[in-house]
């Protein structure tokens, strides 16, 4: 069933993945950027972005996915997202309290660039959630390889 010389799954899975993984990533970015207009938001979009990288790792093996986004890079991105969220919260002290919406001109409703800090918060949360969950998955995969348990279909 499985060819041991080749990493990853079969040719069918690889072809479908090559076609669909970009769309999944794009959909995640769409969900994040439209979080203040339509249902969705940073958390859901971040998980979809993480799922696109996990999709890549399941189909092509861990080396291909970790070449796109290494575990260190994922850790850095996650910390960056958390720091960005905290910075937005602290910048609210310009107006007197945490999470003050410091864009005084809120823009038209239903515009992509509207609602002040909310899209920025969504982007920060999506960075944190997406990179964090991918880092956990990569850590689990790498851990099971190193600890002597025979690696299964990765």
């Amino acid at each position: 069933m499985r060819n041991n010389k080749e990493v990853g799954m079969t040719l069918i899975v690889k072809t479908v993945t090559r076609l669909s993984v970009g769309l999944v990533l794009l959909y995640g970015i769409y969900i994040v950027l439209h979080g203040h207009i339509s249902p969705g938001g940073g958390f859901a979009g971040g998980v979809i972005i993480a799922l696109s990288f996990i999709h890549l790792m399941l189909a092509f093996g861990r080396e291909t996915a970790l070449k796109k986004l290494s575990q260190t890079a994922a850790s850095v991105l996650e910390s960056l997202g958390a720091l960005m969220f905290l910075a937005i919260a602290l910048l609210g002290f310009l107006g007197g309290y945490l999470f003050f919406n410091f864009f005084l001109h809120k823009g038209k409703p239903f515009d992509l660039f509207s609602a002040g800090i909310i899209p920025l918060c969504n982007i920060a949360i999506s960075l944190e959630v997406g990179a964090g969950l991918f880092a956990i998955f990569a850590a689990v995969v790498l851990f099971s390889r190193d600890s002597g348990i025979p690696p299964d279909d990765k």
Binding site: P109, A115, N122, G132, D146, P150
Partner: protein, 173 residues
């Protein structure tokens, strides 16, 4: 009506998840419960929660299958079924008794007391400019709570990465 059917399906799937012998089937039954919960959120008109529940459920399913597919834990079945059944039933009775007194005081289902939420709904768009009121509440009015949740997630990820790290681990051969 759909909601009740869905809840019955979820209860059935949860019982299957507990009772089935094979660990992989159990994980898949847990996934069925999660997808049912996602549909229930959709019926209760909470699309934000439904999307989040759906994608988190898929991720959890992948991680759980990844974790369980090789190692099948044997179930422990001891002979103390009489004592176990009696204690379970008595705790269920105790829970139902306290729940009866506690739930009598709650407002009716679907008619919440809207003291704070009314202001959010009425002034949400003009104060924040976000048309998705869920985003307006969790990222502006209640942003402090979201900051706490983000910190929890950050700490959890740091903990996992620290426990199962590659660097600096002593190799036991």
């Amino acid at each position: 009506m759909e909601l009740q059917l869905l809840l019955l399906f979820m209860i059935f799937a949860a019982v299957v998840a507990v009772e089935v012998e094979d660990l992989l089937s159990s994980v898949i039954a847990v996934g069925a419960v999660g997808l049912g919960l996602s549909l229930a959120f959709l019926i209760l008109k909470a699309p934000d929660l439904a999307i989040t529940q759906l994608v988190v459920e898929i991720l959890c399913l992948i991680i759980l299958i990844r974790a369980t597919i090789k190692k099948d834990i044997p179930l422990i079945r001891d002979g103390r079924w009489f004592f176990n059944t009696i204690s379970t039933l008595s705790f269920i009775a105790l829970f139902l008794l306290f729940a009866y007194f506690a739930l009598k005081e709650l407002p009716q289902f679907g008619q919440p007391i809207m003291r704070v939420a009314k202001e959010y709904i009425e002034k949400g768009l003009e104060k924040t400019g976000a048309t998705n009121i869920v985003a307006a509440i969790i990222l502006d009015f209640r942003g402090y709570d979201t900051l706490g949740e983000a910190t929890i997630l950050f700490t959890a990820v740091m903990g996992v990465l620290a426990v199962i790290r590659k660097v600096g681990r002593i190799n036991e051969k």
